[in-house]
Amino acid sequence: MGISGSSSFLAAVAIITGLSSGVAAARDLTVVSWGGNYQDVQREIYFEPFSEQNETPILEESWNGGYGVLAAQMQGGAPSWDVIQVEAEELELGCFDGIYETIDWEMMGGEDQFFDSTVSECGVGAIVWSTVLAYDGDRLDAEIDGWEDFWDIETYPGSRGLRRGPKLTLEIALMADGVPPEDVYDTLRTDEGVDRAFAKLDEIKNDIVWWEAGAQPLQLLASGELAMTAAYSGRIFAANETEDRNFEVVWNGSIYAVDSWVVLSGSPNKDAAMEFIRFASLAENQAKMPPEIPYGMSNVDVSNMLSDDVLEQLPTAPANLEGALETDVNFWVDNVEELTGRFNAWLAQ
């Protein structure tokens, strides 16, 4: 190899290490969200106004979730993200691991300003989103009441769409089997309850089309491939609006969850990050979201600022919360591996 050989070796090492360490230098406030339409709206109502008002440039990124991504970021030393919108599981896991900054609720306007389930030690709730039963009103002219009807293939023939994975699926199966929402997780915490959920799923196993991406169930509903499906409520109304669909939503038995803003601990932009979250949690700013995409908002004052038309599409509307179930994060964080293994095995049977 000789002298020039070892010097080019060093050069290569220098380049590689240089690439990874260069990132740690001072950078703009980096905000990470779910991308797509949703982030477009966020840009309009949060990112750009905040940037302008504080003369702080915002660097946007998007991700698809997963605690592994965050854990890897933290293990890599200096993370390159500041503010992240996370799902409840990531909030719970990361808070336990201490990878988020603690929230100063006084600064956010006090805990009373927010719905209970959107308040936590490490994150400020951003939206409440819900998984509902949906069907195409143009194809199915019937009064669908809940998951019992979803299981009634005889009366309402056609395929059913469910998200691939145990989460949501097991809850839905139990509700279809007559378990009231408030007892669903207690039931699932017993072996018999899990068996009962899988047994219920067995009844319609061959009629289920498993979807993975949120856009899929609506496409399949529109094409008639599915007669009924579980789907994310926000997307359904958006499709009715923009694609002139007539999708119907059944709020009874819907399952809702909270997405929150967190700040990665050790962020060099911590103050700006917290300031951003405060800005994105103000009722007058949050109130601009539901007319665009009908998600529930964390700030309790938002509902006063919305028209009834918009309000009735939100998972947080009192009428819609009746018979609804909140995802039990702790149950899923504790059991997701075991139940996923079991779910995969059940699928493979």
């Binding site: 190899m1 000789g2 020039s4 050989g5 070892s6 080019s8 070796f9 290569a12 090492v13 590689i16 698809n64 979730g65 997963g66 605690y67 592994g68 991504v69 854990a71 890897a72 933290m74 599981e89 896991l93 336990f96 691991d97 201490g98 990878i99 691939r164 196993k205 289920i208 089309v209 498993w210 993975e212 991406a213 856009a215 899929q216 496409q219 399949l220 094409s223 008639g224 491939e225 702790n330 964080v333 504790d334 059991n335 997701v336 591996e337 075991e338 139940l339 996923t340 293994g341 079991r342 995969n344 095995a345 059940w346 699928l347 493979a348 049977q349």
Partner: protein, 381 residues
Amino acid sequence: MLIAPLVVFLAVFMLWPLWIMISLAIRDDEVSEVLPRTAAALADWNGEGIPGSAAGQALADDLRGAERTRLGPAVRRLNSDISGFRTLMARTQRAADDVTDGAPIDLVAVDERWGETRYWRAIANAVQPYTDRYLLAAVDLERDPDGAIASMPEGASANAAIIVRTFTIAGTVTAICVMIGLPYAMLIAATGGWVRNALLLSVLLPLWTSLLVRTTAWVILLQNEGLVNAAITGLGLSDTPLSLIFNRTGVVIAMTHVLLPFMVLPIFSVVNAIPRNLMPAAASLGAPPLRAFYRVLLPLSMPGVLAGSLLVFMVAIGYYITPALVGGADDQMVASVIAFFALETANWGMAGALGLILLAATTILFIVYGRLSRSGAPIGA
């Protein structure tokens, strides 16, 4: 001198990830790092009943001082052994914080699960520096309480089935890619000018199309009310629509579509380099076209077919989004299980172990490929 960048490249992009993957799959030091006193206290426990109160106290002391960023992975590790361990530890830590260091604590009073042997045994197992649990779990095996290797209970895991399925799907896709790609590559090689460009372009097109657009297109084409079924029923070939999507058929069609370029390009480059006069030579020696093909063109194309097959197969076993989007209940591939462990639960051990299995399969294939292509080596020499 030119070797140096290559060595760096190999080290950085091949050996380093390999080493990471192996160490992820077998290392097991998260728990012993945060619970050193507990580890010491459990060292001479015989694994029967409940360890003495010293162990409980050591655990409380360890938890009290534990650094949260290190406790998290340790707790996830224990939770992946016994679901619920996470909330148990969180509760225990809160209780430990209320007592001072060294003071006695009654853990069973904190949570009655500490009265069960299996929780203590889980900690005792987890404080060993190395483990084979991930590798075993990757193929649905575990160690029973006596330490012997046994199958997991029925219905607990389907990793082995998913791995077999992954290879089956990848093999099927590879075979179909050969059947389509070989004649297609020969066709490209036989043409010239704009026809060749158009043929090449149309096979490369899927590589430049976003995954979502591509899958949506397949859904539109293949669903029950889709174009293909409309054509089939319209032509009277079948009364009821065929299920072409959300099952194995859909997965194989969609994957073949994307992976075809990886088959066509190597075959094309090999076929294109075959001297043009060999087929005329074979004809002049009395070989009818079909025999000339089997005796001359086909064997000479084999290096391309082999390289293409290897490529397609290796890429195919790593697929998971396409099967997830157009597959049915039992078309999930192993990469999606890896993604689950790596992304969702940050269980690097399981992700590493499953990855290692894919890597081992790939390596074996590579060796077979090396053997096969060497046996035909003089072609290039």
